[in-house]
Amino acid sequence: MKAVRRRVPGLLAWFAGIVFFLPIAWMALTSFHSEADAATNPPSFTAALTLDGYREFFGGDGGASPWPALANSAVASVASTLLVLLLALPAAYALSIRPVRKWTDVLFFFLSTKMLPAVAGLLPVYLFAKNAGLLDNIWLLVVLYTSMNLPIAVWMMQSFLAEVPVAVIEAARVDGARLPVVLTRVVAPIALPGIAATALICFIFSWNELLFARVLTGVVAETAPVFLTGFITSQGLFLAKVCAASLVISLPVLAAGFAAQDKLVQGLSLGAVK
């Protein structure tokens, strides 16, 4: 009896895990069904599998190809992540390893900008972009996504760099190592896993963003999430196609998320939880 009771929490956890994962599993299964099999009630669990959904999503039946949108998303996410690292690394250095005076105040200023809802700046950004001829330009999104992720990156990076023991840096300096050497040989190896996790989290947030992309891009610079919203316009059955599309577009995020799994909490809680 006692053995049974000890196993109950584990079984409950498994049950919860399966319930939470069920929609994703069902999405994956449906993406491999034909449209006719995808739209049945009761659901067809054992219908024949096909790649038609994926073929159609990738423009098989003369629909719009998703590749330009995927490429735009990749450019916006990767370029903004690189820019974030470029700006956040030196800033985090000045907030941890060689801190400026009142460094906590500066850190909290960064955080406070993240608390401003992005939607409040939407209109001026739109008007500016329109006047500067930057509408439908992917580089505008790169700049905006950089500003969106910069506070998170500074916070995360600060907490990772602060983990580098001061004594180790001191020792290297005493041994006559110059700053670049200290940074590349001493600081980087210790802080690298954290920097990688920061980059992955910034990538995820940029890849997911919809509101700004939707308002500021059109045909040329459309990103994958915008493509997805414009996907369901025609009549008829589209479930398998939507499932295939959602899965393909979520794959980079799932991959990045699981790669950063261990540091995910620290990043999402802005370094407050380790």
């Binding site: 030196p90 000045a94 499932c243 699981f258």
Partner: protein, 311 residues
């Protein structure tokens, strides 16, 4: 929040050859400047512009008719039934999603805190919903799960002879909330799990030796320890969910009384071209978030200071 909390002051190696203090201070600050300047230019300036525009009567279709109206836009936003309703919707949506995902997240974190076979796999299964692109998740719920004719929910209900409701038109706000709870529960779970794992195990052992039961330990030791993690989860969750656009936009297009403030700002600017009104609504969103943010910053700061003093 003073410089004295800085644990990392170091002894200069070669004081004699150092440049004067002021130069040195700027050299220390220099790495910070690009990020600061960039952030102020891209996030703070547009907000100032929004504030200014919110005092103008400005329809984008009639730019010539633009004029200063003082607080008129605010009066209009606050007296407009639709807009007032969207303020209420935002509060309701945020509170419901945050509370539900916090409670669910706590239960899941408590389950995952124990050892059992396949814990790693279950953890991965539970995190997955958070890693689906939000628009994709919203589409998944709308078309694949909620669809009254062939959605999975009604499909499963069919097996047990249950009802076949049209979920979205019957309970539109709840439909949006459930999809968001599904996505945000993993987030809460991760934060609370980190909290659980930072408990003082010796203290729990001691309590157990003194004869405390599971429930007593949970109420008197675990919950007080988790308090700040719960606060942090609630506040960060609120900051993100107050701004939610994707789910409302996709699942109901703001219809059936589900338009929240971000959607309303989007709509009044995108469809009605009312720049002044959109800006006033935007400013109100900011004021609302500032209230949450002040608390959030306080919680983050107390956790942060604990970390710094522990280091």
């Amino acid at each position: 929040m003073t410089a004295t909390t800085a644990p990392l002051t170091r002894t200069p190696a070669r004081e004699a050859r150092r440049p004067p203090a002021r130069l040195r201070a700027w050299a220390t600050r220099a790495p910070l400047l690009p990020a600061l300047v960039f952030l102020i230019a891209v996030t703070q300036l547009p907000f100032v512009a929004t504030l200014v525009i919110s005092f103008f009567d400005w329809n984008a279709l009639y730019p010539k008719a633009r004029r200063f109206t003082g607080l008129d836009n605010y009066r209009q936003v606050l007296t407009d039934a639709d807009l007032r309703h969207s303020v209420w919707t935002t509060v309701l949506l945020t509170a419901a999603v945050v509370l539900a995902s916090l409670v669910l997240g706590l239960v899941l974190a408590l389950l995952l805190d124990r050892r059992f076979r396949g814990r790693g796999i279950v953890r991965t299964l539970l995190i997955a919903p958070f890693l689906v692109v939000p628009v994709a998740a919203a589409l998944l719920w709308k078309h694949v799960l909620y669809n009254p004719e062939y959605g999975l929910l009604n499909g499963l209900s069919h097996y047990v002879g249950g009802p076949q409701p049209d979920w979205i038109s019957r309970t539109p706000l709840l439909a949006v909330e459930v999809s968001l709870v599904w996505q945000w529960t993993p987030f809460m779970m991760l934060i609370l799990l980190a909290g659980l794992q930072s408990r003082d195990q010796q203290q729990i052992e001691a309590a157990r030796v003194d004869g405390a039961g599971d429930w007593q330990i949970f109420v008197h030791l675990t919950l007080p320890h988790l308090r700040r993690y719960l606060e942090l989860g609630a506040l960060l969750g609120s900051v993100y969910i107050v701004q939610n656009f994707d789910a409302v936009f996709t699942i109901t297009s703001g219809g059936l009384g589900t338009a929240n403030l971000p959607y309303t700002v989007y709509q009044s600017f995108y469809q009605a071209h009312e720049n002044g009104l959109a800006s006033a609504a935007g400013v109100l969103v900011v004021i609302g978030s500032l209230v949450i943010a002040t608390f959030a910053l306080r919680v983050v700061s107390s956790l942060f200071r604990e970390e710094v003093s522990r280091a």
